[in-house]
């Protein structure tokens, strides 16, 4: 019934005098806390444990916890060792394994500063597969677009809490293709003159890109307060009809994790604290206790949850034409500039600082015209890949 809280209290916007304004975040004090995020699933695969540290509010990125000793023990006496993956900073299990119902799993971590942490023992619940993922054209608060829904016809009595992740992959047809590598030579600080050397790129079919974007944030649904313990028309992802991601073919892979009540509550509180929406009555924020504790110092704060979950996934594809929509615009307005012979300073700035690419060169005798455009309009590498994914169905 979280909805009950959320429905209220937007009302203060009604008063023209009320105002909500952003302000720059400053760190008043900083607490360095270990963050544990791990869901082992019933899929036979290399399981993943993510360890990181909190960082000051005004800094960026993520500080990965390195050189930790990570393992998962099960109630049958098996131990699964994890090793750090240099590329992602995640800890990956040395062998493939899957969480089995009826077996309890415990996460053990020893950090490089010698502190040890342990999780509560968790079990995986029996799988409840997703019934259907489907998309419909709807109007959402006055905006038309495509809504991706999830239905889960539940058969298991205890399965009531679900968490979702999705990964969107879509085809992008580049308006132009970058065909030359460029190099600026002989730049004179005095005259501001320079030479532009262009080398044709050896390229394959670079005209089509396949970006993939993972969902961000905690997406959850609960059937706990429903008569039939099923998820029906759960609105997972809304895409406005003018969104460029559906300009070409679009695909979404939806993963549904079955959660325990404790895990559900933990994720939910984290998400709620990240979205304190009401103005008049602010929810009380604070430190959220997960199921990982420090063995070294019981008062030490640890953020995180180790869960075992059964997962089911489903992928759907659609095109904007399927819903009778007009062609959505491209991501950016592609600017195509031509420079005849002269090499003004603006060209140098566009190339060096604004990452423009040369997509065409016209040469007539000594006359040379250089055509440039933004890299987003001419190159996959800047935002995705030109490699067609294995699963892709056209």
């Amino acid at each position: 019934m979280k909805k009950i809280d959320n429905i209220l209290f937007h009302f203060l916007f009604l008063l023209p005098m009320a105002c909500t304004e952003p302000f720059p975040i400053q760190t008043i004090t900083f607490e360095n806390i270990l963050v544990v995020e791990s869901t082992i699933t019933d899929e036979m695969k290399h399981q993943v444990v993510k360890l990181s540290r909190t960082i000051p509010l005004d800094s960026f990125g993520q500080e990965v916890e390195e050189n930790a000793d990570v393992k998962v023990e099960d109630s049958n006496g098996n131990t699964f060792g994890f090793s750090e993956n240099a590329a992602t900073g995640n800890y990956i299990s040395d062998q493939e394994f899957s969480a089995v119902p009826g077996v309890a799993y415990t996460l053990k971590v020893r950090t490089q500063d010698g502190n040890t942490y342990t999780s509560a023992a968790v079990e995986v619940q029996r799988a409840t597969p997703m019934d259907r993922v489907y998309a419909e054209l709807i109007s959402n608060n006055g905006e038309e677009g495509i809504q991706v829904f999830v239905d889960t016809d539940n058969t298991e009595e205890n399965a009531q809490y679900f968490r979702y992740e999705y990964e969107e992959t879509y085809k992008v047809q580049l308006p132009t293709v970058a065909k030359f590598d460029w190099e600026i030579l002989n730049f004179s600080d005095f005259t501001r003159a320079y030479d532009l050397e262009l080398t044709p790129i050896e390229w394959e079919d670079q005209r089509v890109c396949y970006p993939s974007v993972k969902s961000a944030g905690v997406i959850q649904a609960s059937a706990a307060n429903l008569d039939e313990k099923r998820i029906f028309r759960f609105p997972l992802r809304f895409i406005g009809k003018k969104s460029p991601i559906i300009r070409n073919r679009y695909s979404i892979l939806v993963k549904q994790y079955l959660q325990s009540e404790q895990a559900f509550t933990f994720y939910q509180i984290l998400e709620d604290l990240g979205n304190v929406e009401s103005l008049l009555s602010q929810g009380q924020p604070g430190y959220v206790t997960g199921n990982v504790t420090s063995e070294t110092n019981s008062e030490e704060k640890v953020l995180g949850f180790f869960e075992a979950s059964s997962v089911s996934s489903q992928r759907i594809y659609f095109n904007y034409q399927d819903f009778g929509l007009e062609l959505p615009p491209y991501f950016v307005v592609c600017e195509q500039l031509a420079f005849e012979n002269e090499l003004p300073e603006i060209l140098k700035r566009k190339l060096e600082l604004e990452h423009y690419q040369v997509y065409f060169v016209e040469e007539e005798g000594i006359m040379r015209t250089v055509y440039i455009t933004q890299s987003e309009c001419s190159e996959c590498d800047t935002f995705s890949t030109n490699i067609k994914p294995d699963f892709w169905e056209d």
Binding site: D5, S281, Q282, G283
Partner: protein
């Protein structure tokens, strides 16, 4: 008048000899003879001349015979049983009503011993009982009334103190006037009229200058010469002056003289010039400008009194409880300012007739309607319109007052350009009707009905509404002048409802309801001059339905769910003695015994000790049948206070107050909201308890025109209810698993200076106070901030307010309101981390930081229409600007993760100056 001749003589120092008596004996007999005739006959017989005022002798008849007695004995006999004394000067006999003329002047009257002869007994008396009346009836101000003499002077009486009692009523309506204070100017005695207008005051022998005092009524100076116990009824008129004054005051002298500590009266009429937001005259908002009463911020519905939580205040409207007396989620109070007579706030010593809340009592009383003629009052402001009518039903006997207030905010919303707001709806209204009937002089019946409703639709798919409803009936009876009784019944309801309709399978209708029914019998009895007893008993039955959710529409498959009903019975007996130990020391000794029973039908979880309460630690479920007692709680509540006079207008007061609360408000928010749930004590939830000690000094200057007070307090609270982070309180069958009970402590010092009279009046208050909470447990999950004390959400150490009003002339006055407060504590992020592919923040210990300080200046101008008598209606225009400085006071600070990144926002409610014009009229 003969008396005046005499006094002239006396004043000019004629020295009298002792009465010349020639020893002539007279024989005379009277048979039902009028006294006047008897005296005339005696005059004939004795040859002496009698001087008297005929009026004194009327209605006196004598049947007596005297045989050979001297004149003195005969006069003694004749005047026995009357209030007349006599004085013999040669052959002139001067009769005096009440007073006794002393045959000699007090010693040292002329600065030297002119008269050597002493009569010790009489001299002693002259010290206390002044001889010369006229001397005191000086400067006949128009409110002064002529001297009243009560009782007959008796030179042989040893009594020095007499009781004066009576009834005070309104000259216009004959309605009894409550809370009027009667005090001796420059003296020690003090009394307050009860609900039926009765008072009783102990006064010293002789001349007493009395004055009455109640805001809204003309001050009456009444000189009384007292020679015995007697009664004095007064009729007083409403004051017209009060229109122009901003006075929020304790009962004038009461601030020095009453025994209770921490008491404030706000008169509804007097606050009309205080500039307030959007022109809504608001008793509760004015209360927050007084020391010790705070809110968490603009737009927060609850009040925090002396470090208490928002659920610890008992709001009583005409003897019934009002649970959520606010509109617009706290921006305005739901108390109609036009129908309300006064608001009495007890924040330290709570009279033992009240109970059930820890921190304070807000006792609001509705006016009785005008019993003579139809009258009314109304106002038109930018947000609401308000109309009050007073209708006599039986002239001088019965009347009805009714007040209705409604908003037209919907219209404003629709006129806004914002697309998302056009379809929203926000409205409220409240209505009150009170019937008063004076059955006879000793019996009075009143009944009140009140209803308030708020409705919002913010997003197109949700509708939220809440309402308060109450009804009460009260019968007041006087057995005699010394004792009386009041019997009242009250019924209150608070409910809210949320509908969510988005054409999905989770559409629902959620409802919450709380009902309270109570009766109270209170009696008072004046035992003697020194003891005034009040005692009584009462009982309240609480029934709450903590939540019901139903599917809404055909698609919805929301499971219908009802959290089990809770019932509880709270009963109490109390007694209090207002004990005047001596002229300086006045004690108010109160004791209340309250007793609570949690009642079935119910199922209660029994939890394993020493582990966190959760679904896993339930040992068994205990079932209780209908009306079966689940658990009882109770205890003695001490309500003791005292006053010691350090001078005529300087006193020291102290009090000890214990309270127990069985009904708790649960909220997951940092401030109170209308969706909070009231929860009864049960098997797992202990009642909250508090002890408070307070001490204060009170001093008045310049004929009570300036009042200064300084009060300090220390309060300890046990078993305050709090909750775990992220607690789910709505529709939770096992609420206790989400709750924590902890201790609180609060202390502070409050300073208040008031100027009540003159062109410039107002008050200034400053408070330094702290409110701290500790949530400790052996179980780490049930600790907050490692079990240490931390500041409560409303802990604002420095609080300053200045309210002033300056009257330029009879029609124009200006007022201002200045407030400064320390920013309230918040929990601030101390770092961020990536989880579930997005940035999230980690928070500091609870309430470790504060938002910036709060300050605000409001200004207002009040213009009265002309005061011609024959005008149809009197009008009054108030122009005010709220937050003149445009200070952007942050109300809350929060952090939102948007697109995987953290953004910080601060909200302020009235960030720009808000001008308002309100038109008021009265007929």
């Amino acid at each position: 008048m003969k008396k005046n001749i005499l006094l002239f003589v006396v004043l000019f120092g004629t020295v009298f000899e002792l009465a010349a008596q020639d020893g002539r004996n007279i024989t005379i007999a009277f048979e039902n003879t009028p006294l006047k005739e008897a005296l005339l006959r005696l005059e004939e017989h004795s040859g002496a001349s009698f001087y008297f005022e005929e009026a004194w002798l009327r209605e006196h008849r004598v049947t007596k015979g005297f045989t050979g007695q001297d004149l003195t004995s005969i006069l003694d006999g004749l005047l026995e049983g009357t209030s007349i004394n006599y004085f013999i000067k040669g052959d002139r006999i001067i009769l005096l009503n009440n007073s006794m003329v002393y045959p000699e002047l007090p010693q040292d009257y002329f600065g030297e011993d002119v008269l050597k002869k002493e009569i010790a007994q009489e001299e002693a008396r002259t010290v206390t009982a002044p001889v010369f009346q006229e001397e005191f009836v000086s400067s006949g101000a128009n409110q002064r009334r002529s001297v009243v003499t009560i009782g007959k002077q008796d030179p042989n009486s040893q009594r020095r103190v007499f009781t004066l009692s009576g009834r005070i009523s309104s000259l216009d309506t004959d309605e009894p006037i409550q809370n009027l204070s009667i005090s001796v100017t420059g003296g020690a005695a003090f009394a307050v009229t009860d609900a039926n207008g009765y008072y009783s005051i102990a006064l010293p022998l002789g001349m007493n200058k009395l004055e009455t005092n109640l805001l809204g009524y003309q001050k009456v100076y009444q000189d009384v010469i007292l020679y015995g116990d007697g009664s004095l009824n007064l009729k007083i008129t409403e004051s017209v002056e009060v229109l122009e004054e901003v006075v929020v005051e304790s009962n004038r002298d009461a601030n020095v003289r009453a025994a209770t500590v921490g008491t404030t009266v706000i008169d509804a009429e007097s606050i009309k010039t205080i500039p307030l937001v959007l022109g809504e005259r608001d008793l509760l908002k004015v209360a927050t400008s007084l020391p010790g009463i705070k809110t968490a911020g603009e737009g927060s519905s609850g009040l925090n009194v002396r470090g208490g939580r928002t659920d610890q205040n008992l709001f009583i409207l005409d003897d019934a409880v009002i649970f959520n007396p606010v509109h617009f989620l706290g921006l305005f109070s739901a108390i109609n300012p036009f129908t309300t007579q006064s608001l009495q706030i007890y924040k330290a010593t709570i009279p033992p007739e009240f109970g059930g809340r820890l921190s304070s009592v807000f006792d609001m009383e509705t006016k009785s309607g005008n019993m003579e003629k139809l009258s009314g009052e109304g106002s038109i402001g930018p947000i609401t319109a308000n109309l009050t009518l007073e209708v006599p039903i039986v002239k001088d006997k019965a009347s009805v007052i009714t007040g209705i207030r409604a908003t037209y905010a919907d219209y404003i919303l629709r006129s806004l350009n914002d697309e998302s707001l056009k379809n929203s709806e926000a409205s409220f209204y409240d209505a009150i009707v009170k019937y008063s009937h004076n059955l006879n002089e000793n019996n009075k019946l009143t009944g009140t009905f009140y209803y308030s409703k708020d409705k919002f639709s913010i997003t197109s798919d949700s509708l939220f509404g809440y309402s308060n409803r109450l009804a009460s009936i009260k019968w007041g009876h006087r057995f005699n002048e010394k004792s009386g009784a009041t019997l009242s019944f009250g019924s209150s309801q608070y409910q809210y409802d949320i509908q969510y309709e988005a054409d999905a399978n989770n559409d629902f209708d959620f409802g919450y309801e709380l009902n309270e029914n109570q009766f109270k019998l209170s009696l008072d009895h004046t035992l003697n001059d020194r003891h005034k007893l009040s005692y009584g008993l009462g009982s309240k039955l609480y029934v709450t339905d903590p939540g019901t959710v139903r599917p809404l529409g055909n698609v919805s498959d929301v499971q219908e769910k009802t959290v089990q009903r809770e019932r509880g019975l709270e009963s109490a007996v109390y007694v209090t003695d207002l004990f005047e130990v001596n002229q300086k020391l006045l004690l108010d000794l109160g004791l209340r015994y309250s007793f609570y029973m949690g009642l079935g039908e119910s199922s209660q979880n029994v939890y394993e000790e020493g582990v966190p309460k959760s679904a896993n630690s339930v040992i068994r479920v205990q079932d209780y049948g209908n009306n079966e007692t689940i658990k009882t709680y109770g205890g003695l509540e001490y309500r003791i206070s005292g006053r010691y006079l350090l001078g005529n207008d300087f006193s020291l007061k102290a009090g000890f107050n214990r309270t127990i609360q069985y009904l708790h408000l649960l909220t997951t928010n940092t401030t109170q909201s209308p969706t909070d749930i009231w929860k009864l004590s049960d098997l797992n939830i202990e009642p909250q308890r508090a002890d408070q000690v307070s001490l204060g000094f009170f001093k008045n200057y310049m004929e009570n025109d300036i009042e200064l007070s300084i009060e300090g307090y220390y309060k300890k609270m046990n078993d305050l209810l709090d909750y775990k982070i992220g607690a789910q309180l709505i529709l939770n069958d096992n609420l206790e698993t989400e709750l924590l009970q902890g201790n609180g402590k609060a202390y502070g010092i409050e300073f208040l200076a008031k100027k009540t009279g003159g062109r410039l009046n107002g008050y200034m208050g400053y408070t330094y106070s702290r409110a701290l909470i500790r949530l400790d447990s052996d179980i780490p999950q049930e600790q907050v901030n490692n079990g240490d004390f931390f500041p409560a959400n409303f802990d604002k150490p420095h609080d300053f307010s200045l309210v002033g009003n300056y009257r330029f002339n009879k029609r124009i006055s200006a007022s201002m309101n200045l407030t400064y407060q320390t920013g309230r504590p918040i929990t601030y992020p101390t770092g961020k981390f990536v989880f579930a592919n997005e940035d999230l923040v980690v928070y500091s210990d609870r309430n470790e930081f504060r938002i910036p300080d709060y300050y605000r200046l409001d200004l207002g101008v009040n213009i009265e229409g002309n005061h011609r008598r024959k005008k149809l209606a009197h009008s009054f225009v108030n122009i005010s600007v709220y937050n003149v400085l445009g200070r952007n006071n942050p109300y809350s600070v929060f952090f939102v993760t948007e697109d995987g990144k953290i953004k910080a926002f601060k909200t302020s409610i009235f960030s720009i100056p808000v001008p308002t014009i309100t038109y008021n009229f009265k007929f």
